[in-house]
Each structure stands twice: as structure tokens, then as C-alpha cells.
Symmetry: C2
Subunit: 208 residues, 2 copies
Amino acid sequence: MRLVLGEKGIPHELVRENPWEKRDEFIDMNPAGETPVIVEVETKAVLIGSQPIVEYFEETTEKAPMLDGNARARAEVRRLVQFIDERLYGDVVAPLMHERMMKRLVSRQAPDTGALRQAMRVGNNYIDYLDYLLDNRRWLAGSSLSLADFTAAAHLSVIDYLGALDWRGHQQTKDWYSVMKSRPCFRPLLGERMENIAPPAHYDKVDF
Amino acid sequence: MRLVLGEKGIPHELVRENPWEKRDEFIDMNPAGETPVIVEVETKAVLIGSQPIVEYFEETTEKAPMLDGNARARAEVRRLVQFIDERLYGDVVAPLMHERMMKRLVSRQAPDTGALRQAMRVGNNYIDYLDYLLDNRRWLAGSSLSLADFTAAAHLSVIDYLGALDWRGHQQTKDWYSVMKSRPCFRPLLGERMENIAPPAHYDKVDF
């Protein structure tokens, strides 16, 4: 979401929300209790969920199209976004965050090393699939840079931050990720740090 | 998906796929291994996933708009669709199908009555939320019939088929569902039966 706002040059102020706190005011805004939520300053209108928000700004701004091409090309972008946001997230990012972040910050338990190994093993298969796509296409969804690239790069950055990415054998995805990292919209995110969890030394470097 | 194809009058032939069989040919078509998948007869082009498919037909057909209104109205439709497809599905429909269908047809176990009760209790909360929306709006997402209505009606029909819907205290949603059921696109679906699992007597009746 933040990468898309950055690419499109939409001014915004970040407000931190910890969804696991289930604040009443936040649930009133979004019954699903999830981020991202955008509140328009002037109208107080609320926009909810990364896919609806991206489609909204895609319809209302010209700059940095995220769903370029014809209807079929857009269907491929949307397929990949859903695949990454649901499957890669559910199988890899969510378990890694649970073991490495939530257990440390919220429940103060040690991570389950078996669960970590499993998430990294499955993550490797997903990156094989990205390698395969990039063997055949300029960008993940086809000939245009699209929401699929920003979505995948965002999730990979979380996996990489948590030290769970082994780039060996993934030259195609590594080259593509280096290009994504060097975009101006990516720089502010790479400069941020989680509380008490340091990323590996290569995390914010464009050459890694 | 089938309700939308029916509303838009898009001719199609149904091909049964049991995703849990993980057929190689199906995984080759859709690496996520999930239905729905549409193959265009003439071009052999493959469209994957209900949200990308609906957006595709929304962009390429005029009839029966599913995302009517302005960008903000569309954001609300997409928010509700995601909420229903992910949360209502994950919290209610998936556990019910697991307990009542998958355990019977695939693993031949008895359902866990605690899990069933929990799914029905949570399902009741979701229908309270639909009641609340319909107290304030003509249709679920606003003044126009939209994809949110078809998505919710499809999931409710599965819950109802599995005998897990208690309509008492839900007059608004009941009236709305009766209207949805009476649409021609809904009739063929209400006539179908799962193997070895009969729905309650009221399941396919418009007055229930």
C-alpha cells in the first residue's frame, strides 16, 4: 500500500495501529479489524483493505499505473496479487512474523524452529516460481511494471528482514528485487526497523 | 462466480474439479490449485480466481454491472466482497464444509460438534452485521445491487444448505436473501445437491 502511494505521489501521514490490540475505535472503522485503513482528511471518508484502496487510486489518479494493459493483462496482475497476498503471505510471511515477531513482542516466547524451517522451505518454492515467471517475462505479470511487482517486493522485504531469505540459486528474482529496492518509493521502508529485531546486514542494500 | 456469469448472460460449460485431488494438469493451469478457473474456448486463455474473473467480465461486458457507481462506491463493494470471501468464509463456511462435507466425503470421520457450534455462533454475528448494513442501505454495499450481494448470498446458501443457519432474529437479511434467491441466476444453483448430504427442506424455497 505504502509503495503504491509513494509511486503515485499521494501525500499521506502514517498512523500506527496494532491490530492485535483490537481497539474499539479501530473496529468501528473497519469491522475486519485489519490494516490498511485510509481516512481522507477533508471528507473523513474511510477506505479499507489493500486491494480496494489500490483499485480506488488506480481509478482516480493517472500517475504510475498499477494495472496497465488490457483486461486480460489486468486479470493476470490481479491473479498474482491475490496469490502473493494470500498464499505466499499465509504460507510464509504470516508464520515467520508469528514466530519471529509476535512471539517476541507480544507473547514473549521463543520461536518454534521447526515452524521457521518449514516456512523457509516453502518460501524457497515460491521464489522458484518467481524465478520461472521472470525467465519468461520482463516483470512478474508481463511486459509492464505492475501491482504484482510491488506486492511481491513488499512481502519479500519482510521475509528478508526476518533473515529467512537465502538468495542462492535465485538470480532472476534477486536481480529483479535489486531493481525494485532501488526505486525511490522503497527507500523510506528499507530505513525502518522493528522494535528489538534487527535485519541482516544486506537488508537495505541495493547490491546484496 | 456462477451467479455473476448468470446475471451477465455469459455462456459457459461447467467442468467439475476437486481441488483436494491436486491433479497435475490443474496445478499447471493454476499454481494456487484453487477453483474457479475459466478457460476461453477459442483462445485457450486461462482466467483465475473469482475477484480477477469478475473484474475481467466487468471490464469487457456491459450487462448487469457488479461494481456500479463512483470510485468510492466501488471501494465499498470491494471491501465487503473481500470481508465476506475471506472472513465469513474462513470463520464460518470453511469450518462448516470441513466438518459436514470433507469429513464425510473424503476422510469419513464424524463432525466435531464443538467446531460446528462455534462456526454457527460466529456465523450469527456476521449475519447481525448484514442486518445492520441492510437497516441502513437498500443493498449490502449501498443503493445498487452489486457483487457484494451475490458474494454474500452465495456463501449464505452454502451455510443454509449445511443446516447451519437459524433465521430467527434476522428479518432484514432474510428478506434480502429471499429477493436474491428469486433471481433467475440463483435457480440452477438451488437445484443442485451434494453427494450424500441433503439440505434442509426450506433450502431452495423463496419463502422460508
